[in-house]
Amino acid sequence: MSKGHTVDRIVASIARRRARETRLKWAGFMAVAVTLALLALLLGSIVALGWRAFQQTYLALDVYFDPQVIAPDGRLDEESLRQADYESLVRQALRELFPQVEGRTQQRMLYRLVSSGGADYLSHMVLADPRLIGTRQRVWLPASSDVDMFAKGQTGAQRAASLQPWIDHLLAQGRIEKRFNKTFFTAGDSREPELAGILGALSGSFYTIGLTLLLSFPLGVAAAVYLEEFAPKKNFWVDLIEVNINNLAAVPSIVFGLLGLAVFLNAFALPRSTPLVGALVLTLMTLPTIIITSRVSLQAVPPWIREAALGVGASKMQMVLHHVLPLALPGMLTGAIIGTARALGETAPLLMIGMVAFIVDIPRGLLDPATVLPVQIYLWADSAERGFVERAAAAILVLLVFMLLMNALAIFLRRHFERRW
């Protein structure tokens, strides 16, 4: 085979080969592009579904604070004021607004314009200022979820369609307004979408994740320090621990939920649905990851630091505590924060230990029944009502913001404190 012959053959095939190369490159580019487009679609659809939940429709009613209803027996102490039938004040105001509506069924439909939380609102007003009794006030009350959906242009709600003439009437009178949904950030869960908020889930998450970080960081660092600095090499138990850590990092999270159920709830009879148990489960779950990242941080500390410390007569423990650990700590903390940020989004294991209950009260401690933000999202997303779906999407946005903040904090710590050798 002559040399010229070889080159001719190569030249003949080169266009085809180059085309194949271009195809591979484009396929790779498309794979990345498709993935990123899906990410955009994911986030975009959640924003599109959720942004409306940050607004809530309010109705203006002219409420007459009828003394006959609020204090029929003339007693004005707090207890009797609290017990009064504010619901009928709302109904009265609605009937006055639409005098043409007659018949029980029709009227019941009419009452559905205003949220069942409207009465509470009036109650708060009266308790704050009893002088309102006997006066007529224009009050902005939260609209029911049906009206809210309709006002936000969400079609499909069958029930809202029948309310339409009334809503149009209210709109014409300027009695409908969309306002910032404060309830969403200040209330716990509720059966009514318009009264439901994320504060309960948020504080549940706060207690759970706070305790998780508090438990998993020291434990993870201790384990990593032992394995990296003290553990004998080629020891059966140490090898077993290493294998275990690597495998636990890949065990499905739901299995940790089963562990929590069987061990913490059934064997130790710790209280169900509490941040305490949730945190214990999440700690066991995040620990392997934190140990692995902490070990990487320890490995990044150059050996001459250790030699220098030992060389001046420090004990091994002194070498670790005085020199190695302070240098590795920022990296370890970064890893721990990223690990707990992941735990913040964890749902499945918490379902197993009963953090999925319907809880209205806002938890105030580690032993109060609580739910967490991702579980709240799951509960709302599973609900048939459009108003809850919207709130689930909004809660996702809040969750993502918190995760983003935690990651940003981790990156900040890394940028500021991590040393490169």
Binding site: A27, G28, S45, I46, F230, I254, I291, A381
Partner: protein, 458 residues
């Protein structure tokens, strides 16, 4: 006294003990610190450890066992006929007692009321005992340690040895967790297999646990054949891998070999965002965006696509796994030595030829390992399928159909009020055992393959 107060007091006592130990050491040395074996502060730490550790250990143990012991004592004081109830019924009684504890739910039944009163009394006693014993332990520990302080006491070595033991204990927690997982799923599974034969579970083609809740007929009916769940799980995972494997691998190839550094600097963090999105968010996306879209698309094409199809759940799971596959593959591709690429280029290979014929074959074991890990993830993934896959078990391999998975069934069986010994609840643990074994097997193989691969290039 509440537990947290007790812990704070113990911490306070330990600091006091530190101070005492320090003083004592200084006094003994007579101002000549050099005569001491260790620095004076180590004598302080030594005393503090003796003060805090035993008391703390006792406190943890007591808290974990308290409830069990009290329930036993309450049980013993119950009337005869209640005591002779079968264990699962007795457990119900105890649950009534527990709810009766809070004043809001005071029970009508005088027996339960009495039991609740007894429970409260015992708890009060237990609390007081705990406080007294823990504080005594702390005091005695500190005093004993202080008395042992001599100039030749190797305080530093003792303190360091204790610390090292604590460190080792922390890392042993990993073993404890695995053992805990194994025991918890194993015990309940064994009880399950006493009610339902293992062969029926492993080879049964019918799964309908709902039928089993008939109080008088525990375990007599209800079908617990797990094959439909396994098939459903494998089906959704297969759909997921069909999405994730090619997209992830191609992304990795592009990012590792073709992408301009600036493109890589943007694309990689974005992919990591995808990996950090919580699974519940993917579940939401699958249930409320992808599934309706698929159903409509199916109508246009004349296909019936179930609204909880394996396809929808699998697709979204695939998206979730893409960054996982691509980051593992990229690591593996980077681990292929540059010399092999150079060898191929020096022969006149194009980039594509070098990648597909040299780099990828060389990286294959690592890529296979990564894929196995991804499959294990897909099998264990819970929230996406809970929210987007079906609840009823159907033995089918049609991805357009609705299927259910192992994880979905675990969740549905365990959510809500459960009697603890019904086969329904126990079945969840049997499924958990299967899931654990399945994923563990995949992980062990995958980690082994990847390690071997890495070693071959080190």
């Amino acid at each position: 006294m509440s537990i947290s107060t007790l812990i704070w007091i113990l911490l306070g006592l330990s600091s006091l003990a530190y101070y005492l130990g320090l003083k004592r050491a200084l006094a003994i040395s007579g101002g000549q610190v050099r005569h001491l074996h260790s620095l004076p502060s180590y004598y302080g730490y030594y005393t503090a450890l003796w003060c805090g550790l035993p008391a703390l250990a006792f406190l943890i143990l007591w808290t974990l066992l308290e409830e069990r012991i009290i329930i036993l004592a309450v049980g013993a004081s119950l009337p005869e006929e209640l005591q002779n109830l079968p264990s699962e019924r007795l457990e119900l009684v105890f649950n009534q007692v527990r709810t009766a504890l809070s004043s809001a739910n005071a029970s009508e039944d005088p027996v339960i009321c009495a039991a609740a009163d007894r429970y409260r009394a015992l708890q009060a006693i237990s609390n007081r005992c705990l406080a007294v014993v823990a504080l005594m332990a702390a005091g005695l520990g500190a005093m004993w340690a202080r008395r042992r302080i001599r100039p030749d006491l190797p305080a530093r070595n003792l303190v360091e040895k204790t610390l090292e033991t604590l460190l080792a204990a922390s890392s042993a927690l990993a073993i404890l967790t695995t053992v805990g997982i194994l025991l918890s799923v194993l015990f309940e599974s064994i009880r399950f297999f006493e009610l339902v034969p293992a062969t029926e579970f492993l080879f049964g083609l019918n799964w309908s646990p709902q039928l089993a809740i008939r109080p008088d007929q525990v375990g007599a009916s209800g079908a617990f054949g797990f094959i439909p769940l396994l098939v459903g799980t494998l089906l959704t995972s297969a759909v997921a891998m069909a999405v994730a494997a090619p997209i992830g691998l191609l992304s990795a190839i592009y990012l590792a070999e073709f992408a301009h550094p600036q493109v890589r600097a943007v694309a990689k963090p974005l992919l990591e965002i995808l990996a950090g999105v919580p699974t519940v968010v993917y579940g939401f996306f699958a249930a409320l965006v992808v599934a309706p879209f698929l159903r409509q698309a199916g109508e246009v094409l004349g296909l019936t696509i179930a609204s909880e199809s394996a396809l929808g759940a699998g697709l979204v799971m695939g998206i979730m796994i893409v960054p996982f596959v691509s980051s593992i593959s990229e690591d593996v591709i980077h681990a292929v030595p540059q010399s092999l690429r150079d060898g191929a280029y020096a022969l006149g290979a194009t980039r594509a030829e070098a990648i597909t014929q040299v780099v990828i074959p060389a990286a294959l074991p690592g890529i296979v390992g990564g894929m196995l890990l991804a499959i294990s993830r897909a099998i264990g993934e819970t929230m996406i399928v809970v929210m987007a896959a079906g609840l009823t078990a159907k033995l089918t391999i049609n991805p357009l159909d609705s299927v259910t998975t192992i994880t979905v069934q675990i969740v549905t069986l365990l959510i809500g009020d459960q009697e603890f010994d019904s086969p329904k609840t126990l079945a969840a643990f049997a499924l958990g055992l299967v899931l654990f074994v399945l994923t563990l097997g995949l992980n062990v193989i995958a980690l082994y393959v990847v390690r071997k691969y890495r070693e071959s290039y080190e």
